[in-house]
C-alpha cells in the first residue's frame, strides 16, 4: 500500500511532519518577492533565483565570470572572459 503523499506543486514526497501538510520547500519559495506571484505560464515550476555573477565567480575561480546573460526556468547563463570570445558557461 502506497500511502506516501506528494507535493502537488513540485511533486516531491511530503514528510508526515510537513507544516499544515504543505511542502516546506514550496512554502519557502512562496516567500520570495519575485517568486511564484510573478510567474506567468510555468505555474508548476517554482521560481528560480539565479546566483549573482559575483557568487558564481567565487565557485569557479578558474573562469573569468563577467556577467549574468539571462535565466530560464531552471538555469542561468553567464558570460566569461577567458579563452573564448563567445564562451558562455552555465
Amino acid at each position: 500500500m502506497d500511502t506516501e503523499r506528494h507535493c502537488p506543486s513540485c511533486q516531491k514526497p511530503l514528510a508526515p511532519n510537513a507544516p499544515l501538510g504543505l511542502c516546506p520547500e514550496c512554502l519557502i519559495q512562496a516567500g520570495f518577492p519575485t517568486g511564484i506571484e510573478t510567474d506567468t505560464g510555468s505555474a508548476r515550476q517554482p521560481a528560480f533565483i539565479p546566483p549573482t555573477a559575483g557568487e558564481i565567480a567565487k565557485l569557479f575561480p578558474q573562469l573569468d565570470i563577467l556577467e549574468l546573460v539571462g535565466k530560464g526556468g531552471m538555469g542561468a547563463v553567464y558570460r566569461r572572459g577567458k579563452n573564448s570570445s563567445t564562451g558562455s558557461s552555465r
Binding site: S9, C23, A30
Partner: protein, 226 residues
Amino acid sequence: MLAASQSDTTKAQAALEKLCRTYWYPLYAYVRRRGHPAQDAEDLTQAFFARLLERHWVDDADHERGRFRTFLLTAMSRFLSDEWDKARAQKRGGGVTHVPIQLDAAETRYGHEPVDNCTPEQSYERRWALTLLDTVLQRLRAEYEHAGKSELFAALNSSLVGGRESQPYAELATQVDMNEGAVKVAVHRLRQRYRKLLRAEIAETMAATEDVDQELRQLFAVLAGS
C-alpha cells in the same frame, strides 16, 4: 541589528526570550542527536537557555554573527563541549537554575519524528526551517480565526504553494461558496499576507544589513538537501 540585541536591555531580553521560546525544539533535538540521553538533554537545554538569558551572550560577543539560527547552534555546540560538566556539577551541588523556557513534551515529539541520516547540524537546520514555517502558519491561521475566517483559511491554505495560475479556483469557489473572482482575490490576499509574515519572522532572526532573500535561499537549500 538583530532584534534580540537592541541597546534597550529590557526590550532585547524580551526579544531574546521570545526567540528562545520559538526555536527551543531544534536545539533540544540537536542535543539528542549529539548523543545525550533524554533525561540529560532537557536539563542541558534548560541550562543553556538559563545561561544565554542570564549572561547576555548575545550582547557581549559575536557581533559578527548575522543569523540567530547560526549563533544559537555555535553557542550550544560550545556549551556542550565546555560548560556541561560545570553545569552538572553545579546542579548536583544544589545550584538552582530557574527554568526559563518550557520544553513541552520535548521527548514525545522527538520520538515521533522520522529518522534521518543527516548530521546533527543538518537536522538542526532542517528543524529550524520547519519551526519557522510552523510559527508563521500558526500566526496566519490565528489572524484568520480572529477575523472569523477559520473556514476560509482551512479551505484556501493549500493555495499557499504552487503558482498563482495553477490554483483550482473553480473548485475552491464551490468549496467556500464564493464566486471565482472573489476566491482569486482571497487567495491573492492570503499569499501576500503569508509572504509578509514569513519575511518579518526571518528578519527578526537576522542582522538588518543582511538580506532576507539570502536567508530564504539558505533555508530552501537546507530543506532541499535532506
